[in-house]
């Protein structure tokens, strides 16, 4: 791990990965939009070369035809932050598991699988975590029919 600044890092990454990486800067984060095939290698680079050792948040959003997976990474103690997003199509919602890179991805991926129904390739124990095992459907999908009052 060497001294770096975020802009430089983004440049390096863009050079290395090419058109599969699209960088957007918003008010709060530098967002790296990555093709899902490159997700694992990008994450390895971010952790090993740039010290993003803290996967703070792993979340997913339903955009109709596609799901978006959102990773918020921080580095301890350097305190840099970056956001990585990747998209998967609804019908074959599967993405590489990051459990090898950050163990914390374990339950967070299980949660995403549980509530959004995205599968994680390489996850050793991909079962529901919050809902009962016999639950049908994935409630955070927008087409989930809610009952109740």
């Amino acid at each position: 791990m060497q001294e770096f600044n975020l802009e430089q890092m983004v440049q390096n990454l863009e050079e290395q990965i090419g058109d599969k990486l699209r960088t957007v800067r918003d008010q709060f984060f530098i967002v790296l939009n990555i093709d899902k095939s490159e997700l694992r290698s990008l994450m390895f680079k971010l952790r090993d070369d740039y010290g993003f050792n803290h996967l703070a948040n792993l979340s997913s959003v339903d955009y109709g035809e596609e799901f978006e997976l959102v990773y918020h990474l921080y580095s301890i103690p350097a305190n840099d932050k970056i956001c990585v997003k990747t998209r998967v199509v609804r019908n074959s919602a599967e993405v590489d598991s990051l459990i090898e890179i950050w163990s914390t991805a374990d339950w967070q991926e299980r949660e995403v699988y549980d509530l959004m129904g995205i599968k994680f390739k390489g996850h050793p124990n991909l079962i529901r975590v919050l809902l009962p095992d016999d639950f049908e459907g994935h409630p955070l999908r927008k087409d989930f029919v809610m009952g109740g009052r």
Partner: protein, 365 residues
């Protein structure tokens, strides 16, 4: 000697699982081989509820995430929405928020202290912790109207100005904090039986702690001085002077002492906030319907009593969040429970659950 492995279900109904936690212990005699954690007994689909509530309506739901530190999750959510909409919070409100947030942190830690006390058999420790916490509850009742889930912090500020007897009550509480800590230390920390039950139990080394995303007092007990109030200050924390207590061994005793020290530091913070409490507005001018720009998303995090509490909100331009995700520290901290329990004896499960201090309302959401 050949022995069979057997499984004991600690929870979901068990005196010391702090709610509906179900830890399935795989045991070889008294030695723990593994712990399998089953969650979801308190799952209330908060994230789905958020999608059908307006930004303001969701505020009381956040209070029910970490119900022992009720103002902290509310603060985190309100700050996230404020950041998303670019709302400036008045100075006075920021100070009141800090006071309420730190009081909540103390309340949560006192529950941790009290519950650890009873989990380890020191029933009297429970009563002393709860007794002191009751004073905070009175302060919450005075300001927010409710004792446990006060729903006092609002988007843009706080719901109402502090009442007249608020400052004396908080001051006297803060002044008594060192005395309370002495009592906890005298009754529990200094006790040899206590120390023997905690020292070297449930060791979490710093590498594992970071790898597993553990945050809050549990991470600091492993020796990493990482506190979001210092690392990425929100509100007015950059103007306040306080220390980050850390441990060295990462065992249960460190987690316990770090919490006790944090109570002291929170007391310091409240004292400073009271000293500098400015006059002025308590809530910003917030439109009746909040409509952030479509497609905007934000991840904002605060240092909750349990660790890094983050909210990820995606807006579609409507008055309701398109997607809201809560990064619950208890959920992620619980992931290390099997790791810290392995190889210990059965009673260590109880110690470890107590000192990891999960709150199931938050972890199950």
């Amino acid at each position: 000697m050949q022995t069979d492995i057997y499984r004991v279900n600690v929870g979901p109904i068990h005196p010391s699982t702090h709610g509906g936690l179900h830890a399935e212990a795989v045991m070889d005699g008294e030695i723990i081989q593994d712990v399998i954690v089953h969650l979801g007994y308190v799952h209330r689909s908060v994230e789905k509820i958020a999608e059908s509530r307006t930004y303001q309506q969701f505020v009381p739901y956040t209070a029910r995430l970490d119900y022992l530190a009720t103002n902290l999750p509310v603060l985190g959510y309100c700050q996230t929405v404020e950041k998303l909409l670019g709302i400036e919070v008045p100075e006075r409100a920021e100070y009141i928020r800090v006071i309420m947030a730190e009081l909540s942190r103390i309340a949560s830690h006192q529950i941790a202290i009290a519950a650890t006390g009873i989990d380890l058999g020191a029933t009297t420790g429970l009563m002393y912790g709860m007794r002191d916490r009751e004073r905070i509850m009175n302060i919450f009742e005075m300001t927010g109207g409710q004792r446990l889930l006060s729903s006092y912090i609002r988007i843009g500020g706080v719901a109402a100005d502090i009442p007249d007897d608020f400052i004396p009550a908080v001051r006297s509480f803060v002044n008594d904090v060192p005395q309370m800590i002495d009592e906890y230390n005298g009754l529990m920390t200094g006790n040899e039986i206590w120390a023997a039950r905690m020292q070297g139990v449930g060791i979490l080394n710093p590498e594992d702690a970071v790898k597993y995303g553990v945050t809050g007092p549990n991470l600091r007990a492993s020796g990493i001085a990482y506190d979001i109030r210092k690392a990425e200050p929100y509100g007015i924390y950059d103007r306040l002077d306080f220390d980050i207590p850390t441990g060295s061994r990462g065992d249960s005793l460190d987690r316990w002492t770090v919490r006790i020290e944090e109570v002291r530091q929170s007391g310091r913070i409240i004292g400073q906030a009271l000293d500098n409490l400015p006059e002025g507005e308590i809530i910003a001018r917030v439109p009746k319907t909040l409509k952030p720009d479509p497609g905007k998303d934000i991840y904002h995090r605060i240092e909750s009593a349990k660790g890094e509490l983050g909210y990820y909100i995606v807006s579609d331009g409507g008055n309701k969040p398109y997607r809201l995700h809560v990064r619950a520290p208890s959920f992620i901290n619980l992931m290390v429970l099997p790791l810290v329990c392995r190889g210990g004896v059965f009673q260590d499960i109880i110690t470890n659950i107590a000192t990891l201090d999960p709150i199931l309302g938050e972890s199950d959401r």
